[in-house]
């Protein structure tokens, strides 16, 4: 049994079979071969080794011609490793004596060597990459056309990977994925957002562990504690089974909240909306009794295919959500991606700092035809229900005005062609940079609503990349600087009479509900999975108490103090009902 600690990014506990993905998306199940088929399988293994050898030789020759003998030598070493007598004996014996499927034998055996290399604390540890290369090549040749990819999963699994790319997660057959575990990533990483959207547990940032696990083995994933247990013993499995059961009971209890409003004890009605990534999630939000969609992220449209989405692609997705919401508001956010993440884009040159680079509204304003296509589809969807548009990462007034100008232009275009849309469609901006907060008194005159994106606001305010393990502990929603920016933003919006909501992880965690309501927030946008819990939290507190909590928090001067205080308040007021 091996217990690993990572970063919890999506709650829930699950027990399931491991599906190990390497960087090319192979999946290697633990499978056995029939005794009668052993000879055929050995032959297949032999052929794969031969084909792999040919590939390595080809690489060696190409590199030799281009860079010279010294660089080619590494491939010579790969060949030697592949042909290593011990390795070949082990592989053969695994198939012949243990009746392992050759793919499984290759994966298990080579990963064991990789692990030994990784554990060496000198430069030889890098040889592990060579072993993975050989493994990959062998698997490619073994699997051939029968290569099983993520799209072809047919039974429930927990996906274990080095890192999941947005396109991989988008192409997953979501019916069968019970959880995600990745070596890289942090809170707010793409895996985290998708897992949250799918309402499945996820743990990221675990560090290297894939060498310790093989496909098909049982894995326990505890998305509350950020714990992953490999090769669990019976006792541990039994203990977690109980926990899974208990969670089901709590979920059933929270289910009863579906038809009651999010209203505080002193009668203040809170608008509780859902954050979604995929159109199918609209249904999940509705079934939990939400007041609308407060944040519809549209990035998946740009990530699932190599070509740019057409107006019809956009419209099909938006109209599905708008129709499902039956007249409730749907806030559609325009593209919020960096050029570095997009399959269709070629970044002009390497960006040293993508977070501070060409992304979101900046990218949209640079790629006008693409931006207009999205706006046309959003406007067309506005004829079907209460649609509002939201511009991300606005940091200057000029950007906001430019975006509005493009929108007005697209409206004119639609009107000319007699295409229906709502000419009064509300326009909002994300407040997620300190610049936007400082200038909010000016911005607020030119927007119909604002949405405070705490994830980015925290990152830009504290100058912390939350995906970077070295500094991730500095990323803290409780930081006094963050609280002051939030407080200021909500004050400005209230004085101007402009609705404000908070999306981002902060609004979805009941630890912050009292603080946010106390700061004056009346709209919360949260992941579908958090709707019942946050609703219950709103129903368990009074605004008067919340104000006191907010005032005291604002006087504290360290994130640690604030956090301890809020945790204590949460326990005190919500313990019987939520936790």
């Amino acid at each position: 049994m091996l217990k690993l600690q990572g970063i919890a990014v999506s709650p829930g506990v699950t027990i399931g079979e491991a599906l190990v993905l390497d960087s090319e998306g192979f999946r290697i199940p633990r499978r056995f071969v029939e005794r009668s088929a052993v000879d055929t399988e050995l032959e297949r293994l032999k052929n794969a080794v031969a084909e792999t050898a040919v590939e390595i030789e080809r690489n060696r020759d190409a590199v030799r011609a281009e860079l010279g003998e010294q660089y080619a030598a590494i491939f010579q070493a790969h060949l030697a490793m592949l042909h290593d007598d011990r390795l070949q004996e082990e592989l053969t014996s695994a198939v012949r004596d243990k009746n392992w499927w050759p793919e499984y034998a290759v994966s298990r055996t080579l990963r064991r060597y990789a692990k030994v290399f990784q554990s060496l604390d000198n430069h030889i540890s890098q040889r592990a990459h060579d072993i993975y290369d050989i493994e990959k090549s062998l698997l490619r040749n073994l699997l051939g056309q029968r290569r099983e990819t993520l799209a072809a999963i047919s039974q429930p699994v927990i996906v274990l990977a080095h890192n999941l790319t947005p396109s991989e997660t988008a192409n997953l057959d979501r019916r069968f994925v019970k959880g995600f575990v990745t070596e890289l990533g942090g809170p707010g990483s793409h895996t985290a957002i998708v897992a949250e959207g799918l309402e499945i547990p996820a743990v990221v940032g675990l560090g290297p562990f894939l060498a310790d696990v093989s496909g098909g083995e049982p894995v326990i994933l505890d998305g509350h504690q950020g714990v992953v247990i490999l090769q669990p013993d019976e006792e541990t499995i039994a203990r977690y089974r109980l926990e899974v059961e208990a969670a089901r009971t709590v979920a059933a209890k929270l289910d009863t909240l579906r038809d009651v409003p999010a209203e505080t004890l002193d009668g203040v009605r809170i608008q509780l909306t859902g954050n979604i990534e995929f159109p199918s999630e609209a249904e999940q939000c509705l079934s939990r009794g939400c007041d609308g969609i407060g944040l519809y992220r549209t990035e998946f449209l740009y990530l699932t295919s190599k070509r740019e989405p057409t107006e019809e692609d956009h419209f099909a997705a938006y109209s599905a959500v708008v129709t499902a919401m039956q007249g409730k508001p749907v806030v559609i956010r325009t593209l919020d991606l960096g050029a570095d993440k997009m399959l269709t884009e070629r970044t002009p040159e390497e960006e040293r700092n993508p977070c501070l680079g060409l992304r979101s509204i900046r990218l949209s304003l640079r790629q006008l035809p693409m931006f207009r296509t999205q706006l046309r589809a959003i406007l067309r969807a506005s004829a079907l229900g209460d649609v509002r548009v939201l511009f991300p990462l606005v940091s200057t007034l000029v950007e906001l005005r430019q975006a509005r100008l493009v929108l007005a232009d697209v409206m004119e275009d639609l009107a000319e062609h007699g295409i229906a849309f709502n000419p009064k469609m509300p326009v909002g901006m994300m407040v997620e940079t300190p610049a936007a907060v400082m200038m909010l008194d000016a911005f607020i005159k030119e927007v119909d609503f604002v949405s405070i994106g705490t994830n980015d606001l925290i990152q830009y305010t504290l100058a912390v990349d939350r995906g970077n393990k070295e500094v991730a502990d500095l990323y803290n929603a409780c930081d006094p600087a963050v609280l002051r920016l939030l407080s200021r933003s909500l004050d400005v919006a209230r004085e101007a009479g402009v609705p404000a909501n908070v999306c981002g992880q902060m609004s979805g965690s009941v630890m912050y509900t009292q603080l946010l309501l106390g700061l004056g927030l009346r709209q919360l946008s949260v992941p579908a999975s958090a709707i019942p819990e946050v609703k219950q939290a709103c129903r368990s507190v009074s605004v008067a108490e919340c104000r006191e909590i907010a005032e005291r928090s604002l006087q504290m001067d360290s994130a640690r103090e604030v956090k301890a205080f809020l945790r204590d308040q949460m326990r005190r007021r919500l313990s019987e009902t939520v936790v």
Binding site: A80, D85, Y113, H123, R127
Partner: protein, 96 residues
Amino acid sequence: MTQETISREVVVGIEQGLHARPADLLAREARKWQSRIELVADRQRADGKSILELLTLAAEAGTRLVVEATGPDAREAVDAIGGLFDRNFSELNSHT
């Protein structure tokens, strides 16, 4: 047929240690001989004919190893392998 065991000490002189290329060269040399050939470090033994095992020794520059051969051509094998270390695997640089 004699089953004599011959051994001698060698020192890893290569700056980057016994990495992939010298390990490959060593394993190839070892496979020319019938004898069983092992390299012995502080706490570990490795099959001299297996590059993968040699790498797991993680022998850095300055590490002392013992070359041990058992079999009919043990003496020649140890001389040949010892020679590689004595020449500091100069064969590797011959084509650059």
